[in-house]
């Protein structure tokens, strides 16, 4: 078991720099998820930890060893690939035991460890099949099994669930979480799916364009996003953002209503400052179909353009100040398109960002 430290890690392809000096300390036994849109450098970062990609600058340590120039086989890591990367010419048993065989372990040990892993992942019935004869979920489990038989210091997962269908993905997500509880080790997990990130991670690292935007626990990044990017990336549906200006102690939404500056931001804004007001659909609800608002709230009317019933709640799409705004309706009744409703916005749950720097004013 080991911690992983990245110090000013840089990746360049020729003159193109894709990772810009990132710093990250991953603790022993911690489950860290790197998340971000495609091309944000998260996979590259993972591959640098794995040793599959050369490190152009900075330092990577696993445990107390600097591993910058060590080949993957000397880093004591395991990796699960997006497309599984099972060896197609070997049976499941051979796939699982391959690393031990390469390490010249005695056959008896290999059999024991492989059977154990098969048990954990309920693969025992498929041991003599080749990967071609397995379903997607089974292949995924073999890939995980191949990773755990080595008892590595660090597990690396590169979008392991993105090739599975939605139902299986949810199921495997739980299995990965259980696996982490069972085999207790450091895990670095890359995904572009924020739900996976939220559900699995001890800590989430949100990346964009080769920079780290925010590091924090799932709730931290959800409740106190550091900037508009994190605010819109984490959470579904994405956070609503409205541009405005501070005038007379209020936020004047461009072309929209005036809204009181939420208490938590009082004194942090200056008169005339351009800001972006952010709030989630969960905090904007039609009057009478809303959670009780305990702190300050504000009310305004909007026309509903479209509604998406989800059962226990309905997602409402309206527009305010020329921007599409999503709201939620609890204990819903059918809503006709074009219907005008009064909405309540929970101010205690609002966010304010500086319009220029896009950083939170919290």
């Amino acid at each position: 078991m080991a911690q992983v430290h990245l110090r000013d890690v840089v990746k360049k392809y020729g003159s193109l720099q894709v990772v810009h000096g990132i710093n990250l300390e991953i603790e022993d036994n911690e489950f860290v998820v790197l998340v971000g849109p495609s091309g944000c450098g998260k996979s590259t970062t993972l591959r640098m930890i794995a040793g599959l990609e050369a490190i152009s600058g900075g330092e990577v340590t696993i445990g107390d060893r600097v591993v910058n120039d060590l080949p993957p086989r000397h880093r004591n890591i395991s990796m699960v690939f997006q497309n599984y990367a099972l060896y197609p010419h070997m049976t499941v048993r051979e796939n699982l035991g391959f690393s031990l065989k390469i390490a010249k372990q005695p056959q008896a040990t290999i059999d024991k460890v492989v059977d154990e892993a098969a048990q954990i992942l309920s693969l025992s019935e498929y041991m003599d099949r080749k990967p071609g004869a397995l379903s997607g979920g089974q292949r995924q489990r073999v890939a995980m099994g191949r990773a755990i038989v080595r008892h590595p210091e660090v597990f690396l997962f590169d979008e392991p669930l993105s090739n599975l269908d939605a139902k299986l993905r949810t199921q495997m997500r739980t299995e990965i979480k259980k696996l982490h509880q069972k085999v207790k080790s450091t895990i670095v997990y890359v995904t572009h799916d924020q739900v996976e990130a939220m559900t699995l991670a001890d800590r989430i690292v949100i990346m964009r364009d080769g920079h780290i935007e925010q590091v924090g626990s799932p709730l931290e990044v959800f409740e106190t996003p550091a900037n508009t990017f994190v605010a819109t990336f984490i959470g579904s549906p994405p956070m609503n953002l409205l541009a405005g200006q501070i005038t007379g102690g209020q936020i004047a939404i461009d072309g929209g209503p005036k809204i009181t500056v939420p208490d938590q931001f009082a004194g942090k804004v200056a008169e005339g400052q351009k800001v972006e007001l952010g709030f989630r659909a969960d905090n904007l609800m039609p009057k009478g179909y809303a959670m009780p608002m305990e702190g300050g709230f504000t009310e305004f009317e909007m026309t509903v353009n479209l509604s998406e019933p989800l059962g226990t709640e309905t997602l409402l799409f309206s527009s305010l100040a020329g921007k599409e705004i999503q709201a939620k309706m609890l204990n819903p009744r059918p809503v006709a398109d074009g219907e005008r409703l009064p909405f309540q916005l929970d101010l205690t749950r609002c966010h304010l960002f500086d319009a220029d720097s896009q950083q939170s004013l919290r």
Binding site: L52, R73, F81, A85, Y87, H89, S99, K130, R139, R146
Partner: protein, 288 residues
């Protein structure tokens, strides 16, 4: 109802037409081969008969007996020719495969300067008709003393086959996902082990087919071999066929008998390796 019947009848007729067309095509392809085998078992009179005798009346092994017989009685050094062919084809194929694997892998996996032009250059060498090289090759071989040796022909066949094996093997390695080698490296392999234990077995079908093609090319090649071999010690079987022509006559029966002997090893090899060709690439290891 009526319409359904019509369509069913039409489908039946189409199917029948398919079979008939296929049969005719196969017959056209197979008849020359059958004719060679048939002729090797019958006397010259029947071979030369006009109109042709389709149903053989007199089958015997005379042609084979004569071929293996003494030199004066129509015999040719079959065993020596066979050995020559085997040594030359097997050696040149092995070399072509090794070079092809190294080259094909490099083209499939690595980026390097001038990659595209080198590749096109290699393919262009295939555009030169082999026969046009025979005179220059003859002169070079004569000067270097390689004429009438196994080594000389082996070199020529390696040169002929390498562009092709590189091209074919490159294609197969391209289909092997890079992830497999990376997974192997993480599992503790060196780069070298990752190649031999994972990438090579997965691309084996490609290497096998390249091997067959290279072998058949060397085994059947006639034009260059007829220029570069002089004596019994280096003549290959296709060149040996010429032993059956003399100033005024051609011993068709004997020639066909030797041709049959030539075909047999090629057939056996193809059958042995075809399992790999058909088994092909099973890419279950990767999401496909």
């Amino acid at each position: 109802m009526n319409e359904n019947l019509q369509h069913r009848i039409r489908a039946r007729i189409l199917k029948l037409l398919h079979f008939v067309t296929l049969f005719i095509a196969m017959a056209i392809i197979c008849v020359p081969g059958l004719w060679v085998v048939l002729n090797s078992f019958r006397p010259t009179v029947e071979i030369m008969a006009k109109p042709p005798v389709w149903i053989p009346g007199d089958l015997n092994l005379d042609n084979y007996r004569a071929m293996f017989g003494a030199a004066g009685e129509g015999g040719v050094p079959v065993v020596q020719y066979f050995t020559n062919s085997l040594i030359i084809s097997v050696t040149s194929t092995l070399i072509a495969i090794l070079v092809g694997m190294a080259g094909g892998y490099a083209f499939a996996r690595y980026r390097f300067k001038g990659k595209a032009s080198i590749f096109i250059g290699l393919m262009l060498t295939r555009a030169v008709p082999g026969v046009s090289l025979s005179l220059p090759l003859f002169i070079v071989m004569a000067k270097t003393g390689l004429i009438d040796t196994h080594l000389g022909l082996i070199l020529v066949y390696v040169a002929l086959n390498v562009p092709f094996t590189i091209w074919l093997i490159d294609g197969f390695f391209r289909q092997v996902p890079v992830d497999l080698a990376e997974a192997a490296e993480i599992d503790g392999c060196t780069r070298w082990q990752a190649f031999w234990k994972v990438e090579f077995p997965v691309a084996r079908a490609g290497v096998a087919s390249a091997g067959i093609f290279a072998f058949l090319t060397s085994w059947n090649e006639y034009a260059l071999a007829s220029q570069l071999t002089r004596s019994t010690f280096s003549k290959t079987m296709p060149v040996g066929l010429r032993d059956f022509t003399s100033e005024f006559t051609i011993n068709w029966g004997g020639m066909c008998a030797l041709a049959v002997l030539m075909i047999i090893p090629a057939l056996i090899l193809t059958f042995l390796v075809q399992k790999h060709l058909i088994a092909g690439l099973t890419f279950g290891g990767v999401k496909g």
